[in-house]
């Protein structure tokens, strides 16, 4: 039972990180109907920028951990958002009125560009950092000496996800920007007729998605204590799977899907085999999609015209 509880905690934390990345996929898909395959690499870039800004701050002799983390968070969100904005501008916008597959191919290309650029610029080796946020709670001491641990870092990851999900659900459902985004999603021409700057709204979507990916990248760095140029690929595919599983286009769905993938992966590793954890996650995805083609929280495409 203790073992189960521990795996549950680990799974929720991993799932939260997937969920944060998945929000970016789901928002972009919602508004431009495109899978942004470079989004996983944006997450990787976020991780690297967090690492670099962290090292710079530490080399200046800063020691106040909360201050460092706050600055790192802001810097990585801003710079990563700039990456997101630039990529949309140079790789997707010129292709928006091209054939449907064109931006998707461009996105795959962009993914390779970012991966290789990071490898060249930062080297191929895994970049570690020492643990920054330490400590935690022992929730339960088992009879055989197994203790259920909840680290402070895990609490932060889950809290960050809950806060950001709430914030962005509010943004999409209650603010003018959110309304504009949904209008563009449903009918871009009509949105433009009503005075919505469609290009700007799409740019903002990429900026927000990249900002969230940066938070995920920073959480990943702090939680696992390392980043590498290749980490965006698998994380990106998992987060994309999470977005589809949750129902692409739905924000809560993205996080729910992320949690589901994180839990499946963790429990499979814990009880069966680590090697086949990805097989398990993707098998569940296939099974869910057979019975619920629009995902867990996706909307059925039935509308009165």
């Amino acid at each position: 039972m203790d073992y189960f509880a521990q795996q549950l905690i680990n799974g929720l934390v991993l799932g939260s990180i997937y969920g944060l990345i998945a929000i970016g996929y789901t928002m972009v898909y919602g508004i431009v109907g495109m899978i942004n395959f470079a989004h996983g690499d944006i997450f990787m870039i976020g991780g690297f920028i967090a690492l670099i800004s962290f090292l710079i701050l530490v080399s200046f002799g800063l020691t106040a951990v909360p201050l460092i983390l706050l600055v790192v968070l802001l810097v990585s969100m801003v710079i990563t958002a700039l990456y997101g904005w630039t990529i949309e501008r140079i790789a997707y916008r010129p292709l928006r009125h091209s054939f449907r597959l064109a931006p998707m191919l461009s996105a795959i290309g962009m993914s390779f560009v970012l991966t290789n650029y990071s490898q060249v610029a930062q080297g191929a080796r895994v970049k570690p950092i020492p643990p920054v946020i330490t400590g935690g709670y022992t929730l339960h001491e088992g009879a055989e000496g197994f203790a259920v641990q909840l680290s402070n870092m895990q609490i932060i990851v889950v809290l960050a996800t809950i806060v950001l999900l709430t914030l962005f659900t509010w943004l999409v459902s209650r603010t003018r920007l959110g309304r504009d985004m949904r209008a563009c999603e449903q009918d871009q021409t009509m949105a433009a007729l009503l005075g919505v700057d469609v290009d700007r709204t799409i740019s903002m979507t990429f900026v927000i998605g990249a900002g969230l990916a940066a938070v995920a990248g920073m959480m990943y760095l702090l939680y696992y204590g390392q980043v590498d140029f290749n980490m965006g690929f698998v994380a990106g595919i998992k987060a994309f799977t999470a977005a589809v599983l949750g129902g692409i286009g739905s924000l809560p769905g993205a996080v729910l899907g992320g949690l589901a993938i994180g839990l499946i992966e963790t429990f499979w590793s814990a009880y069966f085999s680590v090697e086949y954890k990805d097989v398990a996650a993707f098998s569940i995805l296939i099974i869910v999609l057979i019975f619920m083609p629009t995902g867990l929280l996706g909307r059925p495409e039935v509308e009165k015209v």
Binding site: Q186, M190, V196, V198, E303, K304
Partner: protein, 246 residues
Amino acid sequence: MTAASPLLAIRGLRAAYGKIEALKGVDIEINSGEIVALIGANGAGKSTLMMTIFGRPRARAGQILYDGKDITTVPTHEIAHLRIAQSPEGRRIFPRMSVAENLRMGADVTDSTDAERDSTLERVFALFPRLKERFAQRGGTLSGGEQQMLAIGRALMSRPRLLLLDEPSLGLAPLIARQIFDAIRTLNRQDGLTVLIVEQNANHALKLAHRGYVMVNGLITLAGSGAELLQRPEIRAAYLEGGRHT
């Protein structure tokens, strides 16, 4: 009437979808405070004209002058800021937004205060009480007539000077169509709203309008007052008596 410069003047306007030319040199003038009807058969280019005013598609030649300024190349999203609003062909309401949000989308462009917005909303409710009853309902679940009311209401929420209405009576029961025409007349008389209305229902439109234009194959072929056009035998034959061509 022609002494003052018109609110909207369209001169030699050409527009095309790819290689298919939909407007072949259209000239139209709309004076402030007028209702102008544009009638013509399916595919004559009426809706294209409405959309070309908003730059979708862009004009290939000619000029669109609004309030004396050339707006031919102004980006689509900035046209709404000039207080031109359109209830487009096919209504194009946002199906997954509530009626409230659809109306709000119309109001957003004005940057008005909450109080101003509420007073405009009350006016829209006065014209279309049904929208008030459906306020929280999703746009996609409304009936055709209600969607039409919503599309017009959304356009009105931006407090336009010039309102473009594309087939407001299409697919509606006669009673509802009359309600909509009555609402347009009220807006014109009480607020001096200038209206360009595209209609296949030429009888209704010409009775409502001060002036009318007839469009055939991307060209204006006839112009005159509403009453005048209603009397023309070729109009009666083509648009009013079941389309019996001679």
